[in-house]
């Protein structure tokens, strides 16, 4: 992992949050290399012992937020609301869930009751 071109961008947070390192690394690579987001930055979220990723989806101007977690973790409702608070309450965040087989899935979380699109 240390030899990977993405490592320098994450070097300040990976050793700090060893338990979340795998999912952050995987989500970061997917966002940058596969989803091809632009203006990608890494935000330290001490309150939930990990870093988040911000950036812009291709051809958009709005900043989106990705909070990575591993399938093996156990979260809680409070954990999710804390993530919103630490990110200054954006309307939505993407939870990136990673698995040891390098799979990654994203789910959109919104605060409050947000009805589905027609």
């Amino acid at each position: 992992m240390q030899a990977h071109p993405s490592y320098p961008a994450l070097a300040h947070v990976l050793p700090k949050y060893p338990r979340a390192a795998g999912s952050l690394f995987q989500a970061y690579n997917d966002i940058v290399l596969v989803q091809e987001w632009t203006d990608v930055k890494v935000l330290d979220l001490e309150g939930i012992s990990r870093a988040a990723i911000t950036g812009k989806k291709p051809k958009t101007d709005a900043t989106s937020y990705v909070v990575p977690c591993s399938l093996a973790e156990t979260l809680s409702f409070g954990w999710l609301t804390t993530a919103f608070t630490l990110l200054s309450d954006p309307p939505e965040i993407f939870l990136a869930i990673t698995s040891d087989d390098a799979s990654i899935v994203y789910y959109k979380l919104s605060r409050g009751i947000v009805k589905p699109q027609v």
Binding site: G22, D101, S103
Partner: protein
Amino acid sequence: MSLIKPSGRKGPVSGKAAGRRNNNNQIYAHALPIVFSHPPPTRVRSLLGLLGFSLTKVEVPQCQGIFDEATRSVWVSSRNDSTLLWRRGFFGKGDLSRSEPSWLERQINARQAGGKRLTSEEMTSKRRAERKQFKIDRARAIAAVAAEAEAAFANEGRVIVPALSGPSIPSAATWKPAPRPTEPPDTPEDLEHLQLTLPEAFFLMWNLNCLTVEDPLTNELMSIQQIWIAFQAAHLSPPLFVSPRSTPELQFDNPFLINYIVYHHYRSLGWVVRGGIKFCVDYMLYKRGPVFNHAEFSVVVCPVYEDPADQEASSIDLHHSSPFAWSWLSTINRVNTQVFKTLILAYVTIPARSRVSLDVLDSPACLQYYSVREVTVRRFIPARMRD
């Protein structure tokens, strides 16, 4: 050779599809990385064959990987090795792709105008964008019809039922996307590796002896004994980025052991076993492999402590180790029946510390104290079971 016929979708196979299938039969001819190569037939060979001996060579490849503790995986960076492991038994997954590493190919395609050859990822994103546009178009048409009905009711008291289908509403069958512009060029450089889960890597090393694993801290090859401990430790202590590994306190409910047992069990029966996060289960079982058939079974691993006291004392929070709520079963069963998979609960018993000494965890000999058995889950619909 396989004794179980694939439950493949029947129906006329187009010439193109049949060609692809033949091609796949060649590309994916080997069920495992080891290959049996038969020397040309001779009289001696036939004689030996009659006696039960053979000169068939067993070729065992030597693939190389590097252990990555943070992602709890083994990375295979050589393109040759990753192709071999993927094609012979569908081991691993490209960390930037859905299955086989194809990131570089996608990058190159994107550079070429039009990208005539679309990878499956590209097909998908194209389809997805189209579907979204279709939904927008349809919603607009439905709203127009509803407003019309509303006006008729308000003005004339006529009750018109707003139809949700009809000539004015686009249907999935008739709607056509507008042509899309092509992607700008990009500079490719292969940043992808084939990622093996720890059970996959251990299976390849321990049983088939076709993988060697390097320690990223020392750049030395790890022995099978070191691997056995390191793979368990990856689930116990937070990954260490600088200091050398300490010897962890091994325990029977280590997730590596539980997952390995399930993985090995289904692999040893000939199934191709792959991760199931997308179907909210632990594993999917394929008869031959994902390029041939859809998965038949979805496996949820349910660890069972022989001694409930061990569970209470454990530092590990194993998912599904206590009976879950009916609504959860209902959820995962619904997700899987929607895609025609049968749900399997794979129960792994965890030996009681009062019965088996922790010392056995020093070697894979501990595996004999576990057991795995499955329970299939299906809905029962009384209205359809009357005769």
